[in-house]
Amino acid sequence: MVLIQVLEQVINGLLVGAYYLLIALGLSLIFSLGGLVNLAHGAFYALGAYLAVKLVDVLGFGGVLFASPVLVALIGLVVERFLFRRFYREDPALGLLMTFGLAMVAEQALRLIFGASPLPFSIPQSLKGQLLVGDFIYSKYRLVMLAIAACAVAALWFLLRRTPFGRVVRAGVQNPDMVAALGISLQPYMSAVVAISVALAALAGVLLAPISGVHPAMGAEILTAAFVVVVIGGLGSFWGVVWAALIVGVVRGLTVYFYPAAAEASIYLLMVLVLLVRPRGLFGERIQRFE
């Protein structure tokens, strides 16, 4: 009986991994290519959720799944053009301070515009309900959420691994100077990477809005866990982030089962252990300029 319940938590933990994945992937991409630790990434996640709440009456849930990430990507392009771009070649501490400030400005802006109170948002009627498989219970909405997240991750993988665009991005991660020497400007690629990354965060915001609170601090709340996933997974590694998200989900689920009070602490402990054994993270590549 206990074994079945543990197995149930493991499977659920894998689903929960999708919770962190969409945010962590973007975070990892922006850092790997631009060298920018984007502490404002949570703000794009929150913005995605807020846009969904505001637009859902007009566009429906299916509509906001597309519209919100697209709008956030456009905002991301503007932010990249006027802020991020100035910091790629600077001391990482400066970029850190800039995005930290941007995160605070964004959170307060959300508070000013939409108020401090959380905004109501529900699972669309057609996706409500549960699926019973033997003894196990699954929320239909989470299964749909998982499918959408999996599609987004697969599309990103294809883009990075199987297209000319992806080849330049990966080369840029490893050795930007060589890319420049070959006569390729990384700048347009960087703009695209930021737009894609923040769009993924916004997609996560839309997907999580029906099952968690939509409030100004939601971005700050999820960012720490997303960072842990990136660090555990290792920089520059696509699959590292994916694995790390799944492992974090499972570890958290098992801790809730055996010792719930330590549920959130467990993922930080996991990070410490991974870093002790593998300082570059699970699948971290050796990136010359970060050594």
Partner: protein
């Protein structure tokens, strides 16, 4: 290189010193006009997870001050409100000291976090200035940490637990039943759990499990699977703020069949979840559905000014301000010590419910009726501000207000001299 760095450093130092000087010069200018107005300080968290409640607190206190000033103020003088974000216990303590020493406020009203409340109370007592606690629930604040200058319009955690407990007793959810409780892992949650355990022990129920939830947990699916396997008679929430929203949304998502009750609750939480996303029985200190004349008048004025109805936190800060002004006007003094003596004699106050309340003399808790609420299914909700039905007042009309409050044995308070 070194040279230029040190020059930069010197400039920064100079700028800092200049800013400090400017700040110091600024102080006297601000305290002008003291003779004409009565200053009242308001401190409450406006950022962080209590921010949404703080926003209502500020709306409540501003409306009260507007109304008091429109009807003649305090002893013919206008009230000047100085409202600030209390942020955290350290900042709350600093700001309380500044309000008293620099701005010469005659009373401080507000706060929601019990830790910050204790910090403000300590400063207020040292300076012999009134502090009206409008949102801190901690029993300990009324017990071990009580003091003569602190009064509590907010109900204590025990009152919340006993009020909801009365409804659960009525529904036969206590005796011989197994409860599964989730408790926020910090002082507030632990305090609720303590009162809940006392209640269960006295009424013959038991806990199937009582689990602690870290305050930063946002996903409850793992907990829900455990609850489902435990098959309890009742799921009990000792959670707080945004966590209640997340937990309830996900509880409804998984469609578990067990009834739900909770001991800590604020209406803003339910509004933030949306209709059909919260279920069960919860305690509440006040709601705009209360039918007393002053409650309706307050609801009307609030809705007119802010475009939405008030909730329990707005009520707390609005009413406390009214009580302070009323006491000052009746006694014709702003002296905190005289007001304390007056309140300790059991002065009656309109608390915007069906009967008057009074501040209990040994722990300064406002004795008042509470309510329980029951959430409506989504298809019965016609107004997004009215997601639940409100019970008759607890205790009932012919019962003593004391029966839901902690006793001296439960929560001893010895006022420091």
């Amino acid at each position: 290189m070194t040279d230029s760095t040190s020059r930069v450093r010197r400039n920064v130092l100079k700028a800092g010193a200049a800013a400090a000087t400017l700040g110091a010069l600024g102080f006297p200018a601000i305290s002008r006009g003291q003779a004409e107005t009565v200053r009242i300080g308001h401190l409450t968290p406006l950022t962080g997870f209590l921010g949404p409640l703080g926003e209502y607190a500020v709306m409540g206190v501003n409306l009260a001050v507007d109304e008091i000033n429109a009807s003649g103020g305090v002893m013919g003088r206008k009230i000047e409100l100085i409202a600030e974000d209390s942020v955290n216990p350290q900042t709350a303590s600093t700001k309380a000291a500044r309000l008293i020493e620099r701005d010469k406020v005659v009373a401080i009203i507000g706060e929601i976090s019990s830790a910050s409340g204790l910090a403000i109370a300590t400063v207020a007592q040292r300076n012999r200035i009134l502090f009206f606690n409008t949102g801190c629930n901690s029993d300990e604040l009324r017990g071990k940490s009580c003091n003569r200058y602190m009064f509590h319009t907010e109900a204590a955690n025990t009152m919340y637990v006993y009020a909801a407990g009365q409804a659960l007793l009525r529904d036969g959810m206590v005796k011989g039943k197994k409860w599964y409780s989730l408790t926020a892992d910090y002082a507030f949650g632990h305090d609720l759990l303590k009162a809940a355990k006392r209640f269960m022990a006295a009424n013959g129920g038991e806990f199937a499990a009582d689990e602690l939830v870290p305050t930063d947990a946002a996903d409850f699916s793992a907990y829900l699977l455990k609850i489902r396997n435990a098959k309890p008679d009742l799921v009990v929430s000792n959670l707080a703020g945004a966590q209640i929203t997340n937990f309830m949304k996900q509880y409804m998502e998984y469609g578990l069949p067990y009834p739900v009750a909770g001991f800590g609750f604020d209406t803003a939480v339910a509004w933030g979840a949306g209709k059909g996303n919260v279920t069960g029985i919860w305690p509440l200190v006040w709601d705009s559905q209360v039918k007393s004349a002053s409650a309706q008048k307050f609801t009307e004025a609030f809705t007119k000014k802010y475009g939405k109805p008030p909730e329990n936190q707005a009520w707390g800060d609005y009413m406390s301000t009214k009580h302070v002004a009323q006491a000052m006007n009746e006694l014709k003094t702003t002296d905190s010590t005289k007001i304390v003596e007056h309140l300790e004699k059991g002065a009656k106050f309109d608390v915007m419910k069906s009967r008057d309340g009074y501040y209990r003399n040994w722990d300064h808790q406002l004795m008042q009726e509470m309510y329980t609420i029951r959430f409506k299914p989504a298809n019965e909700v016609t107004n997004k501000w009215e997601l639940f039905t409100l019970s008759a007042p607890v205790p009932g009309a012919n019962q003593s207000l004391e029966i839901i409050a902690p006793t001296r044995e439960d929560n001893a308070c010895t006022m420091p001299a």
